[in-house]
Subunit: 246 residues, 2 copies
Amino acid sequence: MEVALITVGDELLSGDTVNTNANWLAAELSDRGVAVKRILSIPDERAEIAARVREYADDFDAVIVTGGIGSTPDDVTVEAVADAFDREMVVTDLTRESVERRLAAIRERVPDREFDVDVAAEAAVPAGSRPLVTEAGLAPGCVVENVYVMPGIPDELKATFETVGDEFAGDRRSRFLYTVEPESNIIAALAEAAERFDVAVGCYPDREAAHNRLKVTATDDDALDAAAAWLLENANASETPVSRDW
Amino acid sequence: MEVALITVGDELLSGDTVNTNANWLAAELSDRGVAVKRILSIPDERAEIAARVREYADDFDAVIVTGGIGSTPDDVTVEAVADAFDREMVVTDLTRESVERRLAAIRERVPDREFDVDVAAEAAVPAGSRPLVTEAGLAPGCVVENVYVMPGIPDELKATFETVGDEFAGDRRSRFLYTVEPESNIIAALAEAAERFDVAVGCYPDREAAHNRLKVTATDDDALDAAAAWLLENANASETPVSRDW
């Protein structure tokens, strides 16, 4: 399964916010054997979001779009996804009840404060979509065809992803190996491993840990194990972290 | 000035590495008034890198590409950028001398270790490019037309960006404001501010700080100040951080 992530928000592009959502989702998906093929951050611009959602929905098995699903004017993601699939925005019984239930809980917690909420606007999702409601946030997420729309606030994102996590699965597996050899001395071994076995091999210098970390990825368990065994021998690698003494 | 960032590397897409490089570059560029319009992470795939570099080079004033400029087989970024501009890879006097000087320093530091380095491979850059050499890393970065290629190791990236930082400048300015009002209660004010003045207004709930942060961005100082003054009044905002007491 191949997935693309689209993280929406001017705050990501201005460097105000580190994109921890993308990192968290990428790790969750990789743990499930899914190949994440693109992570794209774009501004809160409706036409741009719609165009990229359309493009990635065609190119990948699924797309996860996060951020910009609230009710302030800069939140245009859900409308943009509706545009991408030529859908109207509608309010469903499920989303209206979810918003009303969450609002009631908030009003109970803060009885002295007035919340002037447009429930219909808050509860609107693309027509025919599958709403994703949680107890974590007000505005619901949704699924339109193969596009999953989720909140940008990290706690809300995590709660929302967990409602659909089982829909993401793949057969990619990885193993990490470690070596103190200089990169230059193992180039030939890395190239040969990738050629001999049906695997991808990445090499990542980690200066703090004082080693090079190798990551071997495959969709076939036997190929993965054979490549790892070969690299243990031919790249002077180890299955547990090592440190340079030079 | 509008810039796109392309961060290359399977480790970003698998969630092994948080994309701090993109965040650092985005903040540096924003500080210089530059609008970052895209941040894209893609795998270490030569054809995909070449295609996206070509696309973004046409669409934006400049592109910064980071990661995958080393010498292991998974490092294909520089070759991909050469492909994007139909250039051969060449070794220049500057890059050869830089690699040799860095190698000599490493060998002096670690005299007992053999480094089997292919200097020509390490020093190769696209023909006609402007090499970017620093004392921080072995493989040089380069500039091809409006595309800046930089290392992925954070210290090397920072050293490389600083050699060209003055080439990035723009006229975007921002101001932060803070409010304890619920988002729902300031929707109309946010919409009106964006309509009255030539500004963009983002609203970011910060649960830890217990406020909503507003970011006003403009290319005209008077518009920025007028919009901020208007929001201070009409969104019950403050120039210094505030906290909800509800």
